[in-house]
Amino acid sequence: MSRKEELLNWLKEKLKGDLLAEDVSREKCLFIDIKKEALIETAQLLLSRGARYQVGVGYDARKSGQGLAMVHTFAFDSDALLVAIRAYTPEDKPEFDSLTPTLPGAGWSEREYIDLLGLHFNNHPNPKRLILSDDWPEGIYPLRQEVPYDLMPPAAEDVAFRLDEAPPGSSIIPFGPFHACLHEPAHFAVYVDGEEIKGCEYRGFMVHRGIEKLAATELTYSEIPFVAERICGICGSVHSVNYAQAVESAAELKISRRAEFIRTVMLEIERLHSHLLWLGVAGHLIGFDTVFMQAWRIREKIMWLAESLTGNRKTYGIVIIGGVRRDINREKAGQIKKILGEVEKDMLALEKAIVKDKAIHRRTRDVGYLSKEKAIEWSLVGPVARARGLAIDARKDHPYAAYDEVKFDVQVADSCDVWGTLVVRVKEVYEAISIINQCLEKLALIPENSPLAVELEGPIPAGRQGLSVVEAPRGEVVHYLLTGDDNRPERWRVRAPTYPNLQAVPDMLLNNRLADFPIIVGSIDPCFSCTDRVVVIDRKSASGKILSQQELENLSRKMRSKS
């Protein structure tokens, strides 16, 4: 009996009549439908067996007469198993019990559907607006079927986002939306007491472009990989591969081995350029511009390599459902190996400079500390989790593409701070180079005329679920897909790694100095365009205020006269 069957039987025994239906046909995935009253109980049962919470997906299932649906997905990392539990609620009573009190990581997922779907979550600790802009009127929920994708309702009045009250004795320093340390629009209100950060509130989701709605109304299956790539300009290929895998999982399509190797090579090239990008930006954020320039100099070669392989420096457009569009032949493989050799050499020199530099140590060690326990609680992913001693890596835990055939180690550090994330990322650069080299060797053994893409046999049946994970440079990306009619998915949900990681940022910031704010936020390698959806840490309430310019001037004059 496989692990999946065993888990299903155990759940059946525990839940009895609350388990309505199950779907075990997909490899590595288990989809179950439960009564909505049993949602919390099921989640607790899964958590007790060591599951890690991934994401909540809400969608409008009124077309099939079942009201509104909410799906929560969990991962069993040691068993390579993904579990999705789904519950329905009638349209006239759109209520669910909130998972957030048991699982803080579910906070955003639920707030998201308060905005987008008009759901109500009982006992949610902080049901504030998350995604939609502040001037979006109440009562219009973009993800509902009757709302067209291009609806632009007039602005509501009295719109300002209300920040939480600051802890006593602290003042608020606003960061963003446009700020030197943030490369994307997002607003952080940082509560400080002198130099120490006492809390933080985040209001983001300013890059929300409504891609999921667009996919469900306008695009077709084969168009989405190219739009998926434009979710994020840094880890684009990750999204298109993940989407294609979710569709292939739903349609039970097996792609050729050669295509899988080419996908793996592209994913690793993306990891290389993303980690070097982060290293540069991190250097810039701590005021060490030499690292920035050097890291980006090394990175440029990888960009040229990507261009020669795919035709574009970014947004490769190489992945389609059923395979890839371009081949990597012997000549190109030789070119890749040559460039990777140069990159490795340059990287070793840069690493030496970083490791020996005292300034970097002092700016990153014990900064942004978050314990391993907290990391589990917030269900962190990627290098942020691996720097906290959690060996989770979707490439190892849930092998996809060709990762089951290559050898690599999951890089872990146990310093639990920004330094740890730096170490993990630098080590992963070497791992990525070794993975690409292994892939190229194995690619040479596969005959060159084997097909790159496999055609689908007939239309994809509606109502099937697909779930896929890919390890992006920032961590695990989850794509949930529900097939629909008209040659397009009914629901496609993207969860970027910044989504769980950013929720834990206020905890990381706590009791750090204000000057370290940029590097702590930077340490998770935030990608707001992927995440695109806000977190708030609950502090003890008291009054706080934002100082106006005049007040600041008065204050500084007073201080000066005193000294």
Partner: protein, 186 residues
């Protein structure tokens, strides 16, 4: 006098402010890329600054989303005149592939007046440097806009067609068309 001074001073030291109005990061990393050793725009005196108040030009990237619309307008107002606005990438130009979704208001020109458009998804670093250098008069334009005009025919075909038509009617009336055609073939 101010105009002359600006013309003289602008091309040598333009400070640009990078404003991300809802981009996917693709254009942003290419903008950052032009600062790095391979492209090095500082040799043209172009510097990326952190505050719009220090800037001479804005590099706008990404489709303008609903929450950032007022913010982009504010950033534009904060830049002292004279100022230039560059829309970098397809999203900033026309809104990209999500130009009409519920949270996107459209391209950059819907929010603020844009002077130059730099196309691409994302534009190459060379394209960004070329766009900015073009605006500053450091390079010449490679293509000039061509105005298309309807050409005049040497013979007035409308008049000719009219005559032919009337002749045909006359021949038809005379019942001679078939004979004429037959003769013509010979």
């Amino acid at each position: 006098m101010w105009k002359k001074l600006t013309e003289k001073a602008f091309p040598r030291s333009v400070w640009v402010y990078h404003c991300n109005s809802g981009a996917c990061n693709g254009c942003d990393i290419e903008i950052l890329n032009v600062l790095t050793p391979y492209y090095d725009v500082e040799r043209f005196g172009i510097r990326l600054v952190a505050s719009p108040r220090h800037a001479d030009a804005i590099l706008l990237s990404g489709a303008v989303t609903r929450p950032t619309l007022p913010l982009v307008k504010k950033a534009y107002q904060a830049v002292p005149s004279p100022k230039l606005v560059f829309a970098v990438g397809s999203c900033a130009i026309g809104g990209g592939c999500w130009y009409d979704t519920y949270n996107v208001t459209g391209g950059g020109d819907k929010a603020i007046p844009v002077n130059y458009f730099i196309p691409g998804c994302p534009p190459r670093p060379e394209a960004i440097i070329f766009g900015v250098a073009l605006a500053l008069g450091l390079v010449d334009k490679k293509v000039a806009p061509v105005e298309l005009k309807q050409m005049e025919f040497p013979v007035d075909i409308y008049r000719k067609a009219k005559i032919l038509e009337s002749n045909r009617v006359i021949y038809q009336l005379l019942g001679e068309e078939d004979d004429r055609l037959a003769n013509g073939r010979k």
